[in-house]
């Protein structure tokens, strides 16, 4: 359980960060962006990506919209809201302090 929480926390951060740089992405594009910017190190599982997206949408951090793609199919794209930007800031600083703390532990030990 704790593992999922930690993963979720970082998954939220990654999604928010990606959307803050490149707004209006659909689910697959978000996953691809996480993979490419992390140099294929980080992979968001499809099984957790979509529930996370819906959860963040309900929380009001991101906003979804259906658009028509060139192929004629519909796609659901996501962008950051003001609350999402704030949340991103909070998540980022939380991540910074956690990783700092972990680094410190690694150094000391």
């Amino acid at each position: 359980m704790a593992k999922t929480d930690a993963l979720q926390g970082s998954l939220d951060l990654l999604v928010l960060k990606i959307l803050s740089r490149r707004p209006r992405l659909h689910g697959y594009a978000i996953m691809a962006a996480i993979a490419s910017t992390s140099g294929e190190v980080l992979r968001a599982e499809e099984g957790s990506l979509y529930p996370a997206l819906y959860r963040m949408e309900e929380a009001g951090w991101i906003r979804a919209e259906w658009i028509k793609k060139d192929s004629g199919r519909r796609a659901r794209i996501y962008e950051l809201t003001a609350a999402g930007k704030k949340q991103l800031g909070a998540e980022e600083s939380r991540w910074q302090s956690v990783s700092l703390a972990i680094n410190r532990v690694l150094r000391e030990a």
């Binding site: 697959y28 099984g47 979509y50 929380a59």
Partner: protein, 890 residues
């Protein structure tokens, strides 16, 4: 926003699922397009279905979605059995609507606080005493001088307010106008300020208007009268109002919702107490006395000392009045003076209507509650049967993991739907029926009037009732459903009898309630019939009554000349004059002393009548003669048979002749000589046993033999036409044109007066018969349904029994025996309940006792007959069972 989107997602659940699926599908396509292996791309998602469920539950308010699903499912269930559902809704609506209507009436008359400030601090004073004639009475009326003494005695803790009943009074708006009737109440000057009332126009009465006789010739109209009579004309201020020989000036209009303290009556005009000539008399108890605690006085500690203080004041006052009981024995007077003063909360007003209808409304409430219960039991039975039919489905649901809570909710949702539909329908019924019943309460020309607002009190009651109905309907089936054991149910039922046991218990309950309703209603209907068929002893045929007033009083000769003129009018057969009509709710008694002895312990009642009144009323003479024009009162008298029996006891016999005997009206009064004897006739109230009555001549003389003027009397006119009221207008005109001071204030017929006597009995008999019919119908339907269901369930058993040679009689016996046992059980419980209830309402019966054999036999027969009719289809179905067919199916 988030909650809202989840709620709206719950409503459009299907669409949401499609959207989620579409999005996931697109994702897979993109993955494949970017070179992933299609199989692997799909696998990463796992099952699309599970994915969708996980995503779905995030985006939806789950509880709401399942609730909506339950409601939809319940609705489908109701639609599947349309006929039963409609019957269920209608029977529940009837029950709920009647209950709400009864609540509206009871609340409006008995519970709703008056629209005044601090109604909770208002009490009314009464005294319990043994009357002069040995009967315990509770007297709520007081003499004004005593009121003033009491007011001064407690003035530092409470204010006393005097308010007379709003009697129908003859008034005129200018001396030329026709007279009309209005309800006039005399109130002490402190009433309006203490009640915290503000005028809608002008000003209200103040203590200064009520200082003494003639000090305040001012009148305040009620808002209602201003609206009805004057169309809210603001120029009404300053107009003059004539009552008798007094003239009042209109100074204001009361607040909109205040109609007086007499519930059921709307006061039209408020006058200062001291303007009534009765206010100066020590011996006339004529108004109520209210007590308003001052703010900050604690009722639990202050009331009792105040009551004792006022008791002492009352005793002192009554003692100084004992001179009025000349001739009464010392013991009688002592007993009379032994009075107990009582305070009763009066925040909801006080009126005769409350007293008269309290028990009636109690019975009505009981009957509608029973009808609702019967309807609930019916519908619960129906749902139990449906649930039993679905027990395999339920078991399946439980075994594939449906929560038991969800099952309970499923059934509660269905009953809530039923209750909701029934409540909506019932609300219409209640909106119509409460005013309808109220209209039937009093005679049409003098209707009872109550504010019946549909405010939060009524809504709250209706809502509470609905919840109760939901629980009554759903709880049992729901508990049964949730206790279902999948293994047993799927195997084909572990105990097939258990739902039937429950339903049989319900039958016993239903029969008990139904019997109670039937029993009460047969008591009421019989009471009404006996009352209506009571022999009158006089004829009501073609008898017109013109109640006539003469402001300052006119001499008998004027009245007689007017009667003569009426006699000459076309279409008139005969005319006579009486002080007031028989059964017109007026009664005046008088002490009787025989041979100069002290007055007897019982009084007699009297009526002034002109010669030929007896023949006009078709009252025969047993012996003696009618009055002659030269007879005067005191002097001659005609008495009824009860009078002879009461005042000449021991002398009854064929040889005794009362003609020529004398009596006086109290000690030291002039002699009256009996000139005739009549049979007994009802005097003022049809319900009462015969009273001793004496008639005296209409022409009265004072002690100097001068004729006494008469203020009011009633012309009794026997007409040739079938409808006596057709002549009323022309005769009223004829009297007005004589300009001798006589004016008709009301015209009615003797037949209407007799009918008005039985209004309450008629109303309760009609309602009781209606609810009895409904209860019987519902019980019959319930019985039919249960039996039908049980035969269906026991098809297999019946088939086997038939196959192994059971006789038809045997089959009928096993199908009906336990049901009739239940009916017998319910009937016995009903009798017990009925005796209990009947004791509470005994006062409403007329010559009927709960223990009369036919009162029990009648409902019992009705229930048995209904049971026979209701069980017939099921029995026939059982007999038609084809054993081979059943056994082949199995």
């Amino acid at each position: 926003m988030s909650l809202w989107s989840r709620i709206s997602n719950a409503v459009r659940g299907e669409r949401l699922n499609r959207e989620i699926e579409e999005e996931l599908q697109l994702h897979i396509e993109e993955a494949i397009a970017s070179g992933r292996d299609p199989g692997e791309a799909r696998r990463t998602f796992g099952s699309i279905l599970r994915q969708r469920e996980a995503s779905h539950s995030i985006r939806v308010a789950g509880w709401l979605e399942s609730l909506l699903a339950d409601v939809r499912f319940g609705w489908r269930q109701l639609c599947r059995n349309k006929v039963t559902s409609v019957a269920a809704v209608i029977s529940l609506a009837l029950g709920i609507g009647s209950c709400v209507a009864a609540f509206r009436l009871i609340d409006a008359l008995l519970w709703r606080p008056l629209p005044i400030s601090s109604a909770s601090r208002l009490y009314v004073l009464s005294r319990k005493l043994i009357g002069l004639y040995g009967k315990p009475i509770e007297d709520g009326y007081w003499a004004t001088p005593e009121f003033k003494l009491m007011r001064d005695a407690v003035h530092d803790q409470a204010d006393l307010i005097a308010i007379s009943d709003a009697d129908r009074t003859d008034i005129a708006w200018s001396s030329d106008d026709d007279m009309e009737k209005a309800r006039v109440a005399y109130v002490s000057g402190n009433m309006f300020p203490l009640f915290g009332l503000e005028p809608a126009l002008g000003r209200l009465l103040i203590p200064g208007d009520d200082r003494g006789p003639g000090s305040g010739p001012y009148a305040v109209l009620s808002w209602d009268h201003w609206n009805h009579r004057f169309g809210r004309d603001p120029h009404v201020l300053g107009r003059s109002l004539h009552i008798g020989d007094q003239t009042f000036e209109i100074i204001g209009v009361g607040p909109r919702d205040f109609t007086g303290t007499e519930k059921g009556t709307v006061t039209d005009i408020f006058l200062p107490l001291s303007m009534n000539s009765l206010a100066s008399q020590n011996s006339v108890d004529w108004h109520r006395t209210f007590l308003m605690l001052k703010p900050g006085i604690n009722p639990s500690t202050a009331l009792e000392p105040m009551r004792q203080h006022l008791s002492a004041v009352n005793r002192t006052f009554e003692t100084c009045c004992t001179t009025w009981f000349r001739g009464a024995s010392k013991a009688d007077i002592d007993r009379f003076l032994n009075q107990t003063l009582a305070f009763s909360p009066a925040g909801a007003g006080i009126s005769e209507l409350q007293k008269e209808y309290r028990r009636f409304l109690g019975v009505l409430g009981l009957m509608v509650a029973l009808v609702l219960l019967i309807a609930c039991v019916n519908v619960a039975n129906m749902m139990t049967a449906q649930a039993a039919a679905r027990s395999q489905e339920m078991a399946l649901r439980v075994s594939i993991g449906a929560g038991r809570r969800r099952l309970v909710r499923l059934i509660l949702a269905q009953s809530a739907l039923l209750a909701l539909l029934a409540s909506v329908l019932g609300a219409f019924l209640a909106a119509w029926s409460a005013p309808f019943v109220l209209r039937l309460v009093n005679p049409p020309d003098n209707p009872a009037r109550l504010a019946l607002p549909a405010d939060w009190r009524v809504l709250l009651f209706g809502f509470g009732l609905m919840i109760l109905v939901v629980l009554l309907l759903g709880l049992l089936p729901a508990l049964r459903a949730s206790a279902v054991r999948p293994v047993a149910a799927l195997k084909g039922g572990e105990d097939p009898h258990s739902p039937r046991r429950l339903m049989r218990g319900a039958i016993a309950l239903q029969v008990a309630f139904c019997f109670l309703v039937l029993f009460l209603s047969s008591l009421f209907v019989t009471s009404f019939q006996r009352l209506e068929n009571r022999p009158l002893g006089f004829s009501t045929d073609r008898l017109l009554l013109l109640e006539t007033a003469a402001g300052k009083g006119q001499l008998p000769v004027d009245w007689n000349q007017t009667a003569e003129a009426l006699r000459a009018a076309p279409g008139v057969d005969s005319v006579a004059i009486a002080g007031w009509p028989l059964l017109g709710h007026i009664r005046i008694n008088s002490d009787i002393s025989i041979n100069g002895a002290p007055p007897s312990p019982t009084p007699a009642w009297f009526l002034n009548v002109s010669p030929a009144w007896l023949s006009t009323m078709k009252i025969p003479l047993v012996s003696g003669r009618d009055f002659r024009p030269e007879d005067t009162s005191p002097g001659a008298a005609i008495v009824n048979e009860t009078f002879v029996k009461t005042f000449f006891p021991g002398s009854i016999g064929p040889t005794f002749d009362p003609i020529g005997r004398t009596f006086t009206r109290g000690a030291n009064q002039p002699l009256n000589k009996i000139v005739g004897v009549t049979p007994d006739v009802p005097y003022s109230d049809l319900r009462e046993p015969n009273r001793p009555i004496f008639y005296v001549p209409f022409d009265e003389i004072d002690d100097k033999s001068a004729p006494k003027p008469v203020n009011f009397a009633t012309f009794a006119i026997h007409t040739e036409a079938k409808n006596p009221l057709a002549l009323a207008d022309s005769l009223r005109q004829l009297i007005a044109e004589r300009h001798n001071g006589l004016r008709v204030s009301n015209s009615t017929t003797q037949l209407d007066l007799v009918r008005d006597q039985t209004i309450r009995e008629r109303l309760i008999a009609t309602l009781a018969a209606f609810f009895a019919a409904v209860a019987l119908l519902l019980a019959g339907i319930g019985l039919y349904a249960v039996l039908n269901y049980s035969v269906l369930q026991r098809r297999r058993e019946i088939g086997i029994r038939m196959a192994i040679g059971s006789t038809r009689a045997g089959i009928v016996r096993i199908v009906t025996l336990d049901v009739f046992l239940m009916i017998a059980l319910g009937g016995c419980a009903g009798v017990a309940l009925g005796f209990g209830a009947a004791r509470y309402v005994e006062s409403l019966f007329y010559q009927v006792k709960a223990t009369d054999a036919d009162m029990i036999a009648l409902p019992a027969c009705a229930i048995l007959l209904t049971a026979l009719v209701a069980t017939l289809p099921a029995v026939l179905r059982a007999l038609r069972t084809n054993p081979t067919e059943i056994l082949r199916v199995e």
